[in-house]
Amino acid sequence: MHLLVCGGTSCRASESALIAESLKRELEEKGLGNEVQVIMTGCFGLCEKGPVVKVMPDNAFYVQVKPEDAAVIVAEHVIKGKPVKRLLYVNPSTGEHVSGSGLMGSYRKQIRIALRNCGSINPENINEYIAREGYAAIGKCVTEYTAADVIDVIKNSGLRGRGGAGFPTGLKWEIASKNQADQKYVVCNADEGDPGAFMDRSVLEGDPHSVLEAMAICGYAIGATKGLIYIRAEYPLAIQRLKIAIGQARDYGLLGNNILGSDFSFDIDLRYGAGAFVCGEETALIHSMEGMRGEPTNKPPFPAESGFMGKPSNVNNVETFASVPVIINKGWEWFSSIGTEKSKGTKVFALAGKINNVGLIEVPMGITLREIIFEIGGGIKNGKKFKAVQTGGPSGGCLTEHHLDTPIDFDNLVAAGSMMGSGGMIVMDEDDCMVSIAKFFLEFTVEESCGKCTPCRIGNKRIYELLTYITKGNGTLADLDRLRNMCHVIKDTSLCGLGQTSPNPVLSTMDNFMDEYIAHVTEKRCPAGSCRDLMKYTIIEEKCVGCTACARGCPVNAISGERKEPHFIDQEKCIKCGACFERCKFGAVLIN
């Protein structure tokens, strides 16, 4: 028998280590030290109800356990085999105590659809994919469905594009299917470029066949025989696994002519991106695949009309494709039963930032940010206070605690001033300055702007300069109005999605954290204490013992004072490097 004690940060904070100690002591006393083991584990994702103890193999799940409960758990459950009812987890929807494996579903917030095979099959072995119903969906399509049937299934499922704006996938396929041409293309957008997002890469590395199969299904539906995967060259492992997968699929005849004995033929090639974020935009991506600068062009014409080499092309991203085979296998009814009214199924997020359980998660649409951050994510690192979460990368915005209980779906995120984007989710705490965060994203956009249209090429640069100016304490209230106007014009006039969304990080932080902007311009103060130019280091006379450590460590000799006398920082000379603060053992250096 094993007693698993949650060692996640949040449970540790509520004395889970003490609980483990108590359990061990109780077991020793009862002479069970060798038979029953107490193990500290990682986070169960139930931090709100922590500390958590799980008894194996009985699967009993105790919540909000206190150190003094150790005795009763050992005495009742371990020795007598009777679960301690009052500590058992209560299913919030039924109000019943739950034990055993029936409990699993109710506390597990994640459902893996796109990631269904990631971390379970060997991605370099096609047989393992086939063993998990792999290539059954394309088989079903070519033998049982017409192209129109396939489009209907996808339309009815309510699947929306996972790459950004959430355009209905079935509708996109339908448009491409209706455009007649001698050649059409299925394009997989694997140019994942959001800084802090790696969902697509994980799918390609963990389950490449699901994407290949889905592209073939799409080809069948729209009448294309050629597929292209546009993948970042910075993803060598994903490229390698895709190549292996394509090779194996060809060997089996699952790509190539007359797939599974049908009339349908389809093959896939790789095209490499070369480090340009704008190539995530589909027209830019197509130009890049044609060997040109990845500059976007006006839509219409949409790729469905005139895409790669001027032929009708359907572009979807990796995660969208990865969801397709399951929908065919399990039916649209099943898929559309998950999620919210307008956003069906699940979404993969790369959860990162100031959070305990950094990782890749897949959650049903409609889950709240609170559930993601405080349950799955295990709460904020180092017990700090939650401040904001950034979704949608450089195109998205920051959401605050007001949004914690908003169900997440495409439309709610847009209404809240952010967007789904590809699924980066970066958590920020009280130490993060929101003006600096906005500046960080703008720096990214400035670097990644293709330079074709004026607002994005010059406007974003001007926003970035103004944000820098503000974080140095030089801005005025009038600058904030100017900033907002520039943001609105850039959104309103830019050529492609990159420019049209690039001001979002600024606008959303202005909407939610205006007080921080005002503090920067009126008080010349950074409330989060992160803007270096606005920091002021002073020495508290009473605490300073005159050890001279700070003065010796100061790179610009800004600190003076006699030995054993309080020291003093010359603000004119100080470069705010923080060396004195780090060196002082007496807490005498104060940062304002």
Binding site: A276, R293, E295, T297, N298, P300, V446, E447, E448, S449, C450, G451, K452, C453, T454, P455, R457, I458, G459, K461, R462, E465, L466, Y469, D479, R482, N485, M486, V489, K491, D492, T493, S494, L495, Q500
Partner: protein
């Protein structure tokens, strides 16, 4: 109107007014038809020439379309049925103004001393939008680039606004490929490979990039100072020649309507400026016809006799941009073009030999200036093979635009000048020489002479309408008294490339091909008054050239009495040894080469 019946039309409302347009019309097109002048900057369309620049990049032309989330660029947004468009709401006007401020925030403010001042589309837009200040300029970084001066063109990319017109001209129209958008984002700019100087690129100096640049980023090298100094130098005899296309365009610089012929005023102005002799490049054009026409007939004769080395088709060689183009791109075909020098260089060679001798001035004391519609002529005049002991046949080549500035600086009231005549002997020309300024003109002039010399008959009709027009590639078969001669014409180097590819592949059935580098021919040259995207200006100039031809008493080159005299007194026969020495040239392989290191 009857043809319209089958055309699908679309009804929409712009600024509360209804309009019905053909399907596929842009909002900009529809608005212009209604007299609503939506401002544009990067967009440029030369109707008839099939040239359009529409990257949709500047975002000045944005308008509000009801139901659309964002503003739409009028230049590339097609009209939708029932659309409601507004072009001057506060939202639109604020956006347009802010975008303009963005552009200006990254543009030098040295308008007063900019070569484009007064003729700058960006400046005009700033005036039109009433920009009075650029907020935040103090903290705005500007993108700066190395300046580059080539023999013909000055690039000051600090002034580039990324309209991409030059890139489009250089690649799509001319297929020269010297320029490309380079870098990304704020530092994106149009430049040659490795941001090297144009001299190290396959640039032909056709100047079409300069002709379309809306700002002072691309301008011509200004030689008017050199010319002024030469005129002021009492030891120099300064001879000027003026190209045919100049007289059909110069008036525009003085507010005259496009197509005004100003030959007489032009001669007066040049005399006022102090040139010692005012001559006409048309004279040299007639000379060119004698040489090239003779060469054509000789090669044709060989060809008809079944000689495999006959080198048919013969290609014209008057256009220096075109010569540069085939030296870079078709060096394997460098024996195909006529060896005749261009009129500018023939003139220089004759002026500094025949004429200098006649007036007893030594070569080094004679300065030959050319007024050209062209920037490649600047480069051509500097080719080493066109000089004798370091003394060039043509000392300075200035463009129509430079001449206009020169005239203004010299306090000459151009519009009220009396007409004057060219000096003799190098100022007399025929109608055939005049039409060199238009696409098709050189070959038409050559046909007039070749026909009469070949058949020994007089042409009853001198206007070959089948050789005229604005189609990029044209062909016609002229009946030389039973011998059908196939003529090909291309203007714009991209069109020339098509014909050259055929020649290279052995598919060409032409006996003679005329190529002019610039769309429309010399009337659309890179040194002409800026057309700012209005192709009706080019057409008016073309009409003026044909009008001048019509007004001439002599319209075939071989009847020019001064030409006849020149051969009699000096050259002997066309294609004589002396003529070859002075009036013919050879070409070089300028293709980039990879040398394998041992």
């Amino acid at each position: 109107m009857r043809g319209r019946m089958t055309m699908e039309t679309i009804k929409l409302t712009i600024d509360n007014k209804q309009i019905e347009v053909e399907k596929g019309t842009t909002i900009l097109g529809a608005a212009r038809r209604m007299g609503i002048d939506i401002p544009t900057l990067c967009h440029m369309k030369l109707d008839d020439l099939n040239i359009e620049n529409k990257p949709g990049g500047c975002r000045i032309c944005v308008v509000e379309v009801q139901g659309r989330r964002n503003l739409s660029p009028a230049c590339i947004t097609k009209c939708d049925e029932g659309a409601v468009v507004r072009t001057h709401t506060p939202r639109v006007m604020n956006a347009r103004r802010t975008v303009m401020e963005f552009i200006l925030s990254d543009h030098p403010k040295d308008c007063l001393i900019c070569p484009k001042s007064g003729n700058c589309e960006l400046q005009n837009m700033a005036i039109r939008l009433g920009i009075r200040e650029i907020t935040g300029q103090e903290i705005a970084e500007m993108s700066t680039y190395r300046k580059d001066t080539s023999p013909s063109i000055i690039r000051d990319l600090d002034k580039c606004i990324m309209c991409r017109r030059c890139e489009m001209m250089c690649n799509e129209v001319q297929t020269v490929g010297a320029l490309s958008a380079v870098n990304r984002g704020f530092m994106a700019v149009v430049a040659p490979a490795f941001e090297q100087n144009l001299e190290y690129s396959p640039c032909t100096y056709c100047g079409q990039c300069v002709a379309v640049c809306p700002t002072g980023a691309l301008t011509e090298v200004d030689h008017t100072g050199d010319v002024l100094r030469a005129i002021a130098d009492p030891s120099k005899t300064v001879v000027v020649q003026t190209a045919p296309a100049v007289r059909a365009a110069l008036g525009e610089e003085f507010g005259m309507k496009p197509g005004s012929l100003v030959t007489g005023k032009l001669v007066s102005a040049l005399k006022e400026l102090g040139f010692d002799y005012v001559f006409d490049t048309d004279f040299a054009a007639d000379l060119t016809i004698m040489e090239e026409g003779t060469e054509l007939l000789a090669r044709l004769g060989k060809f008809l006799n079944g000689d495999e080395d006959a080198n048919i088709p013969i290609l014209t060689s008057c256009c220096p941009g075109w010569v540069n183009f085939f030296e870079h791109n078709f060096p394997d075909l460098k024996d195909v073009p006529s060896t005749a020098k261009s009129p500018q260089q023939m003139f220089g060679a004759i002026a500094k030999s025949y004429f200098a001798g006649k007036i007893n001035v030594s070569r080094k004391d004679m300065v030959v200036v050319s007024i050209m519609p062209c920037l490649a002529k600047k480069y051509e005049s500097q080719r080493p093979e066109f000089s004798v002991d370091g003394n060039p046949d043509v000392d300075f080549s200035i463009s129509t635009r430079e001449l206009a500035h020169f005239i203004k600086q010299a306090n000459i009231d151009f519009n009220n000048l009396p007409d004057a005549d060219f000096d003799r002997p190098l100022g007399e020309s025929t109608g055939a020489g005049v039409i060199f300024g238009n696409t098709g003109g050189v070959i038409e002039a050559a046909v007039r002479t070749a026909y009469e010399l070949y058949t020994g008959k007089k042409l009853s009709r001198l206007d070959f309408d089948e050789l005229r027009g604005m189609e990029g590639v044209r062909q016609a078969t002229i009946n030389f008294d039973g011998l059908p001669i196939n003529i090909g014409i291309a203007h714009g180097l991209g069109n020339a490339r098509k014909l050259l590819d055929d020649v290279r592949a052995g598919r060409s059935t032409f006996h003679a091909i005329e190529v002019m580098a610039c769309p429309g021919g010399c009337i659309g040259g890179g040194g002409q008054p800026l057309h700012h995207g209005d192709s009706s200006i080019l057409k008016a100039r073309a009409r003026a050239i044909y009008e001048e031809d019509k007004n001439k008493t002599i319209r075939v080159s071989h009847e020019n009495p001064y030409i006849i005299n020149l051969y009699k007194e000096f050259l002997g026969e066309p294609n004589s040894e002396k003529a070859h020495h002075l009036l013919h040239t050879h070409y070089f392989d300028k293709k980039a080469k990879i040398i394998v290191k041992q």
